[in-house]
Amino acid sequence: MQLERRSNEFWADFDDPDFRGTGEPPRITRQVVMLTGSHQQQQYWYSTGRERLVSKLPAIYLIAEKAWIPRQAAFLHAPIGSSGSDTGAWNAVCIACHTTSGRPEIDSPFGSRPVLKQVFESQVAEFGIACESCHGPGDAHAQANRNPVRRYRLHLTGGNDPTIVQPMKLTPAASSQVCGQCHSVWEFYDIAGERQANTAGLPYRPGDELRDTRFVAQPTVNINSPTMKDILSGDPAFVTDSFWSDGMIRVSGREYNGLVDSPCFKLATDARRTMTCLSCHTMHEARNDPQPVGDWAAAHQLGAGMKGNEACLQCHPALRKNLELHTKHRGPSGNLCYNCHMPYTTYGLLRSLRSHQISSPSVGSSVSTGRPNACNLCHLDKTLAWTAGKLGQWYKSPIPALSQEEQTISAAVLWSLRGDAGQRALIAWSMGWKPAQEASGISWMAPLLGQLLDDPYEAVRLITYRSLHGLPGFGEFKYNVMAQDQRMAVAEASAIWERTVDPKTRRTEPELLLDSHGNVNLDLLKQLKRERNDRPMSLRE
């Protein structure tokens, strides 16, 4: 792909992703007209020249690395060898949440016919999330508040303005649904609903009941519903590509799914003590928040003081007095509520993210679902048996039956070698996570991460490289994530580790596949790697 700036216009020259003939695809030159993404990566959309149909450039830009990568490498999708076509995806899908009052206006359901034979006349009120996305239609509000007397009466009395929706003043369920309209896994109930939204926009307005007009997938509740069965008949991976097997959400951007299955939400009886999105987050930086607005935005738009335990202690004040009695940990990481009850078990945008389903660490859940538990995401060098023992001793948690490997080999080692692509990505990311590095040590990580450099999933390789790059000796390590043959990279990582880590200081635990001399047990490592779960998966992040 070649980029070119023409005055104030940006153009790109690349292989036509929609070419369906034989042989080499022709080169096309298109004007870039839009970008999505601001924190992690930028995705660029170009005008196809056909009505309002847009498509995505084959490469995306990583903000942290200041580097372009092929689009397929940015998502945890089953390897297909090319970026494929995303033509029409913005018009049909992204428009719902990346614009305000978007209307796809496609002449037939997206995907029902070849995209280039469809007509796209998409319209939006505003690009991006604007006021009316969360506050509902604002015309009456704007009209009424032209009157300064009315405005100041409301300012001075603190009264509610009935002309506009204030998510903070809605019931916890309704307030959360304002965010859930985008941050959830949902589908239309039927094709009639899709067609209606296609021409008139999504019917949900803040304050409405979200489920009146769309099906919110919640496997713990509606896995056997007729709508879910209907969806699964046409899209068998609809649930498995977004949820862990127990129904917990595993992809980013769908936090509402986690919230509604959290005890802090579903078991709460007092509206004032019911967790909502706004319990921790704020959409406008609080006036008493001392941090610059850019830092606030980068830190997930948390409310003032909500970076730490205050988010939880506002409803659990009894723990404030002696937190260590509850956590059994010393030091900041082990005493941070988030780290145990919102571990990094969701995936998206080349990183792990905190689960928004509040839970307690459970080895049983790890065994039954494959989802890493909070303890082993920090104590990467420990086995599931170790964790089960600690949880049983401290909290009387039941100790599940564990396999021989689960008792003798570190859980992180097993997940990174035998796990599915999603598990491998989570563990590779955790090995670059500072609290985990502090709890587990880093001297043993490189040989394991090195094994992930030839992972079939580009996204896993890229995350692995990021974590590896932070280890001693790997600062200058060069790696081409898109290379077909990664054997050299694996060997080089191993050689760097051999050179960098003094044999006298090496760890010697068999749980880490290290022998008594600190050497890697290659036979066992290769055996575990052969057992890798190669189930094709495309996480719908």
Binding site: P148, R151, Y152, H155, L156, H284, E285, R287, P290, P292, V293
Partner: protein, 155 residues
């Protein structure tokens, strides 16, 4: 020297000259304070959410300095144009001084507590100051040539 001293002894040119320069000092100092807030990137002044405060205080500075100079100009007018007879000189003087205090002062106070895009309740004194200013200007504009002042016919 024309008599712009009221029977009870108020010397209006001196009064406005002194008031004008002192208020100029005050509002120029406010400008320096605002520049300092810029210089040290003080969030309470510069953050996006404090845009209304920034506008109010900028307006206070601008109106304050200009009205201060207007007082000086008024004093010079009285002194340099003795043949101009200003009716209700005391009222004009009081209106001008009150306008110089209320108009920028209202902006200043309105910036301390703001309500989103709306300034604080202190903004209510701004229109009062503005009306007093207009009254003063109007009365000044209607000033007449005083036939009793020597030399006025030559002008």
């Amino acid at each position: 020297m024309p008599d712009k001293v009221a029977p009870h002894g108020v010397d209006y040119p001196i009064r406005h000259l002194r008031f004008g320069w002192y208020s100029f000092l005050a509002f120029a100092t406010l400008g320096l304070v605002l520049e300092t807030l810029h210089g040290f990137k003080i969030r309470a002044y510069l953050d996006l959410t404090n845009e209304t405060r920034r506008l109010m205080w900028t307006l206070a500075h601008a109106h304050g300095t200009l009205l201060s100079l207007l007082n000086v100009l008024f004093a010079l007018t009285l002194r340099l144009f003795p043949e101009v007879r200003v009716r209700h000189l005391k009222a004009v003087s009081n209106c001008l001084i009150l306008a110089t205090l209320l108009l920028p002062g209202g902006f200043l106070i309105a910036g301390f507590v703001t309500y989103g895009g709306d300034p604080g309740i202190g903004i209510l004194v701004v229109p009062i100051g503005a009306v007093l200013l207009l009254i003063a200007i109007c009365m000044l504009a209607r000033g007449e040539r005083d036939p009793g002042i020597p030399g006025s016919r030559n002008r």
